[in-house]
């Protein structure tokens, strides 16, 4: 009986975290923007996942020395190009298309991993400082102000220059610099949620702080977290690409979009495909996530769902 009733509700509205997410995914169909974003993102993600099976060439090493002799072949529609390398080759004779396909994997990894880190730091700090207030809040607020005063790119550059460049370090550094929006938003929401009467009701029933945070506050911030995180993934992908572009991120010979952009910039006038296609791929990835994030925000916005 209980399950029946529960089953009945799930399709008609939002609900707990999980069902909230599920139902908003269901409602994505209502938002054209979100729909496009979802399709683009899912497509690109699929391409990334199946890259090893569909990429015409391996992303890095190949059969030597034929490959090096193939350097800077243009895309197939230009004279000199061939369907062997549909989007042309780079200076090492590697297929641009294959590198992009593999590069997508890194792009999503570089987007999602730091965001997970940043979200867990930011949400924790935001909950704690908003809920307990007092000196904890004051301290967290000053830390937030401090982090906001330092240009994060500069900070990331400095730290990466110190701890060395690697994919893991890149993810770590971006992660620890991106938590501020989570902390700020969640803190603000916690401040207002903790004054809601349903929290008071829990307190009036003797619930512990942990229980209140877990059951009253966190679930009600979840949709904001989801929205910030989605949009943040897009931002982080761009930041990561920028750092790699400056030479502080992923190292060659990995197939990485930022790295390809950096490599391709010297050849924009002579072998444009080397820098332009990775740029386009990056843009599509980011655009897809941005659309998706916006759509989710619209859907979760009470104004919209009224």
């Amino acid at each position: 009986m209980a399950t029946e009733a529960a089953g009945e509700t799930d399709h008609d509205g939002s609900g707990s975290v999980a069902s909230g997410v599920v139902s908003s995914v269901g409602r994505i169909r209502e938002s054209k923007m979100a729909m496009i974003g979802l399709v683009v993102t899912v497509t690109m993600l699929l391409l990334a996942i199946v890259a090893p099976y569909i990429a015409p060439h391996p992303p890095t090493a190949g059969s030597w020395p034929a490959e090096l002799d193939d350097s800077f072949l243009p895309p197939f529609w230009e004279s000199g190009g061939s369907m062997d390398y549909p989007l042309g080759t780079d200076q090492q004779g590697r297929g641009v298309l294959s590198r992009i396909l593999f590069g997508l994997r890194l792009a999503y990894l570089q987007g999602v991993a730091p965001v997970l880190l940043a979200a867990s730091i930011g949400v924790t700090l935001g909950l704690v400082s908003g809920y307990f207030g007092g000196w904890i809040d004051e301290a967290v607020s000053r830390v937030i102000d401090t982090v906001m005063a330092i240009p994060l790119t500069l900070f990331a550059i400095s730290v990466l220059a110190v701890i060395g460049t690697s994919l893991v370090n890149l993810i770590l550094v971006i992660g620890v610099t991106q938590w501020v929006p989570y902390a700020r938003t969640i803190r603000g929401q916690t401040l207002s949620i903790k004054n809601e009467e349903f929290v008071e009701a829990q307190r009036a029933s003797g619930a512990s702080h942990a229980r209140i945070i877990r059951e009253a506050i966190l679930p009600n911030t979840m949709s904001s977290i989801l929205v910030i995180a989605t949009l943040n993934i897009a931002q982080v992908i761009v930041i990561a690409a920028g750092l790699t572009f400056l030479g502080l991120g992923v190292s060659p010979p990995r197939a990485d979009l930022g790295l390809m952009l950096a490599g391709g910039r010297d050849y924009l006038t002579t072998a444009w495909w080397y820098g332009v296609f990775p740029g386009l791929a990056l843009m599509i990835v980011v655009l897809g996530i941005n659309l998706l994030g916006d759509g989710i925000r619209d859907i979760l916005d009470p104004k919209y769902s009224e």
Binding site: R142, T146, A149, P151, T153, L154, L261, D294
Partner: protein, 312 residues
């Protein structure tokens, strides 16, 4: 004198922030390995290294080093550049680059607001119409394209074919246009979208209906009532974004060979010139704080509630 207290309180918070910044800077720079290796020739004798080390205070305990660092940082003394311009005071080196970067960011902010706000306003007023869809598509793209790619494309398709735009350097308005546009791209797009959504929200507010009910013109309704209220969150956003802008200047300056703080920072970091790194980050933080303080002042002007103990 509530506004005065408000400003004092903000200033107090900024002092704390500067202290935090200095601590972060110090930690980073001391983690960054031995600068002496870069200062002297590759085969310099050990005694020489030792003596340089003690000249720089590098042989003191960390806490003492930090105290020394703070003492000097207060008067903007960050020591001498080690590898980029040996002997030059790092502070001065950075100071000579501050103006171009301020110019660049100012141009970027100008573009961001000058283009972003009108686009946002038009979109909000023409919700759902083609102007709105066009404006917001542009804004969404703007948020999705890495600014360095924008810069490269601008070089390729604008600067190279059109003689008017110099490819590198600084010194004139012409030098500022493309880098400024590149740097402002993301912020411009964000401001357009933020303006639109805020204005749309404000237009739904009761007081806008009140204004309409008075029989005043639409221009006044939008200008004097709606936009001013919608602008407050945009300003807040700009305050948050300004640090990103200074960060973004690093890449932009690199691409356009623009001699600003950002490029200096990159060079300093590549050559581990930590006094210069310290100075750059510190100056950048100070500029962020100055901008934010200016925004605080603007708030006082724009939002009277602030001066009466409100917070933003």
């Amino acid at each position: 004198m509530n506004w005065f207290r408000y400003l004092l309180r903000r200033l107090g918070q900024y002092v704390v922030v500067l202290f935090g910044v200095s601590l972060i800077i110090f930690v980073i720079s001391r983690l960054s390995g031995d600068p002496v290796a870069l200062m002297v020739g590759m085969d310099a004798p050990e005694e020489l290294r030792e003596s340089i080390r003690s000249d720089l205070g590098l042989d003191e305990p960390l806490i003492v080093q930090y105290a020394l660092f703070m003492r000097d940082a207060i008067v903007l003394n960050f020591g001498e550049s080690i590898s980029m311009a040996p002997g030059e005071p790092a502070g001065q080196l950075v100071l000579s680059r501050v103006v171009p970067t301020i110019q660049l960011t100012a141009v970027a902010v100008f573009f961001a607001f000058g283009i972003g706000v009108p686009v946002g306003v038009i979109s909000a007023i023409r919700q759902g119409e083609y102007a709105d869809i066009g404006g917001m598509t542009f804004a969404l793209l703007g948020q999705s394209v890495p600014s360095f790619w924008v810069g490269l494309m601008l070089i390729l398709f604008v600067a190279v074919p059109i003689d008017f735009f110099p490819l590198a350097g600084a010194g004139s308005i012409r030098h500022l246009l493309l880098p400024g546009l590149t740097l402002s791209f993301f912020m411009m797009a964000s401001i357009a979208r933020l303006t639109r959504s805020n204005l749309a929200d404000v237009l739904d507010e009761e007081f806008v209906k009140t204004a309409r009910s008075k029989g005043i013109s639409d221009l006044r309704v939008y200008g004097s009532h709606a936009l001013r209220n919608a602008f407050i969150p945009v300003l807040t956003y700009a305050g948050v974004q300004i640090a990103y802008l200074f960060g973004g200047a690093v890449i932009t300056e690199q691409i356009f060979a623009y001699p600003g703080m950002g490029r200096l920072a990159i060079q300093a970091i590549y050559s581990r010139d930590f006094p210069v790194i310290q100075a750059v980050v510190f100056f950048a933080a100070i500029m962020v704080i100055i901008v934010n303080f200016t925004i605080d002042l603007l708030y006082l002007k724009l939002d009277p509630r602030i001066s009466y103990g409100g917070d933003r």
